[in-house]
């Protein structure tokens, strides 16, 4: 049985003067999902999230949260939603505890015990009495997650929560996201510009580019769809070609490009190809498994950074 859709957008669009930041966006997030919202910088992720959280008004289309239209029943729609939009900013002259107390009051009030719980959950217990202006970026990011969790919402919208964090911090945030989804049964809407990050944590995802939806669906299915191939780099090349001629059962075809061989094959057979190459005296420099979705995402990301 399909799980309940708790967030969906219908032909959502936002136009600034003559430029569409987001257009015709149809998203579906199911209860229990960790939904990855992927796109290069400037693709329209934050604009979409701002519309989901009613910070900006759509030019066209609409948003439904838990069956409530965000435009007409805003308070009901946002009742079970917590979120961070871009970098977390707080009242820096107040303590973390005081900030959370104020944020909690906006959602109907929370007890001190709950504030302590969320601070503990994000690893800030003992620092609640410090003014936010003394916090590092990583601590503010964690405090941002704490405020999103404060009212115990069912849906948590996180806009690039690992942005600006060191590798350890990124790992901790990913661990926290998985903990919230698996142990606390939260639905997570997580935006990122890193496919790898989405692949690690999400079960469903959508890719957005230039404000339009490119693809949406189950992460594993999307990544499995299309071709898989292994990029083989090594020397000498004639020996590589000879090995490939003798191991045709392992692959479906290959092409030579930029001094490397792109071999269409199942990733589970890569070790066999490696064994054959090494056995034939090839100095293998790299065997890189690639998928067409990954290539596609890299290509739009690269195009974006070139522009």
């Amino acid at each position: 049985m399909a799980s309940e859709v708790i967030l969906f957008t219908r032909n959502l669009g936002k136009r600034y003067k003559d430029r569409w930041a987001v257009r015709n966006l149809n998203l579906e997030v199911h209860r229990g999902d960790i939904f990855g919202f992927l796109g290069p910088n400037g693709a329209g992720k934050s604009t979409t999230i701002r519309m989901l959280l009613s910070l900006i008004k759509p030019t066209e289309g609409g948003v439904e949260l838990f069956g409530h239209n965000l435009k007409t029943r805003r308070a009901y729609a946002l009742m079970s939603v917590g979120g961070i939009v871009e970098k977390p900013d707080f009242y820096s002259y107040l303590t973390a505890t005081r900030n959370l107390d104020l944020v909690g009051a906006l959602s109907g009030g929370v007890q001190k015990k709950r504030i302590d719980e969320v601070l503990d959950l994000v690893g800030l217990s003992g620092r609640g009495g410090d003014k936010v202006k003394t916090y590092s970026h990583g601590m503010k990011q964690r405090l941002g997650i704490a405020q999103a969790l404060l009212s115990d919402p069912e849906l948590i919208i996180l806009d690039e929560p690992t942005s600006g964090l060191d590798p350890q911090g990124m790992k901790e945030v990913r661990g926290l996201v998985l903990h919230l989804a698996k142990d606390q049964k939260k639905t997570i809407f997580l935006s990122s510009h890193l496919l790898n990050e989405i692949e690690i944590v999400a079960n469903r995802m959508a890719i957005i580019n230039k404000g339009e939806l490119v693809v949406q669906g189950d992460v594993n299915k999307l990544l499995d769809e299309g071709e898989r191939y292994v990029v083989v780099r090594g020397e000498p090349k004639p020996k590589i070609k000879a090995v490939l001629r003798n191991t045709k059962k392992l692959y479906a075809g290959y092409t030579e490009r930029d001094g490397a061989f792109e071999v269409k094959m199942d990733f589970k057979d890569v070790h066999l190809l490696n064994k054959a190459l090494v056995g034939a005296g090839v100095h293998v420099h790299a065997l890189v498994p690639r998928r067409s979705l990954e290539d596609f995402f890299l290509s739009i990301t690269e195009n974006e950074s070139r522009q």
């Binding site: 701002r50 959280l53 009613s54 910070l55 900006i56 008004k57 805003r74 308070a75 009901y76 729609a77 946002l78 009742m79 939603v81 979120g83 939009v85 871009e86 970098k87 977390p88 900013d89 707080f90 009242y91 820096s92 002259y93 107040l94 005081r98 104020l102 944020v103 009051a105 906006l106 959602s107 109907g108 009030g109 405020q147």
Partner: protein, 284 residues
């Protein structure tokens, strides 16, 4: 009932945010420095200030008793400070909305399941509360300290001539004058609030409010015939209505017109700020 409770909760939030911010107390600090300084200096100067002020007409009067007293001095202070007070008011009023935009905290505030209108009203009422506290503080400090330092007595009013008000007739006039002054400052705060709703930096609302006040004050006071038709509609013309509390008899009709004119500006500015705020796309 639930809605009222929610509004009170929002009001508490805004009061905490405003009154735990250091800049909120800057105005109080300035008043706390300037009023005692001026009053002590006037006490040390004795009646020289009064004699200078009455130069030219002094020979027509015989003044008996303590006329260089607390009432006279605090009236003079009220007159001279009324140019600077709007700056201090707009400093806080202008920060109410623009401060959230600058600090990025709109993103914290406006994603909650409460209406923007309630948040707006909580912020506005907090601003009004600040104005009332500020004007009360100014009044109590100015009048209280002056009476303590210089004592009481009949009050001399130097406005287009000399008027002497009996000691027993002065206190209520000061109370009413400060109520009217608070009404004027709520008008200034409302205009600051309007600027604050569409400007997304801390200084813009202060510059905007003061710019409007300066331009309209020039139009109000400059003796040019062209402006005579509009002068009576400008809020700067009516901001000094408190001075009329020291006329005899008190021109109640003029005061009523000024109160209504300022009310029009308050309603207009707050309504415009509300429309901008509830329709605003938060991009900061």
């Amino acid at each position: 009932m639930k809605s009222a409770m929610e509004f009170l909760r929002l009001l508490r939030i805004e009061i905490i945010k405003t009154f735990l911010k250091k800049r909120t107390y800057l105005g109080f600090l300035i008043i706390l420095l300037i009023v005692p300084l001026v009053e002590i200096a006037l006490k040390l100067e004795g009646g020289r200030f009064l004699r200078m002020a009455m130069r030219g007409v002094a020979q027509d009067f015989i003044l008996l008793g303590n006329v260089f007293n607390g009432w006279f001095v605090s009236h003079q202070i009220m007159n001279s400070l009324w140019i600077q007070i709007p700056i201090l008011i707009s400093f806080v009023a202008g920060d109410q909305l623009a401060g959230e935009a600058t600090g990025g905290t709109y993103r914290l505030l406006l994603i909650r399941p409460v209406s923007r209108t309630k948040i707006f009203l909580a912020k506005y009422f907090t601003t009004v509360l600040y104005v009332l506290l500020f004007v009360t503080f100014l009044g109590v400090l100015s009048v209280g300290l002056a009476l303590l330092l210089l004592g009481s007595g009949d009050m001399i009013v130097l406005q287009q001539g000399i008027l002497v008000l009996a000691e027993s007739d002065v206190a209520w006039r000061f109370v009413m004058a400060y109520i009217l002054a608070a009404w004027s400052m709520i008008t200034v705060a409302s205009i600051g609030f309007l600027f604050s709703s569409f400007v997304e930096n801390a200084i813009g609302p202060i510059v905007g409010t003061m710019g409007v006040i300066i331009v309209l004050t020039i139009i109000t006071v400059i003796p040019v015939e062209t402006f005579s038709g509009i002068r009576g509609y400008l809020f700067t013309y009516h901001m000094a209505a408190w001075q009329k509390m020291f006329a005899d008899p008190v021109p109640w009709n003029d005061i009523r017109m000024s109160v209504l004119n300022l009310a029009g500006y308050i309603v207009g500015a707050v309504a415009a700020a509300w429309v901008i705020f509830v329709r605003k796309d938060v991009l900061t």
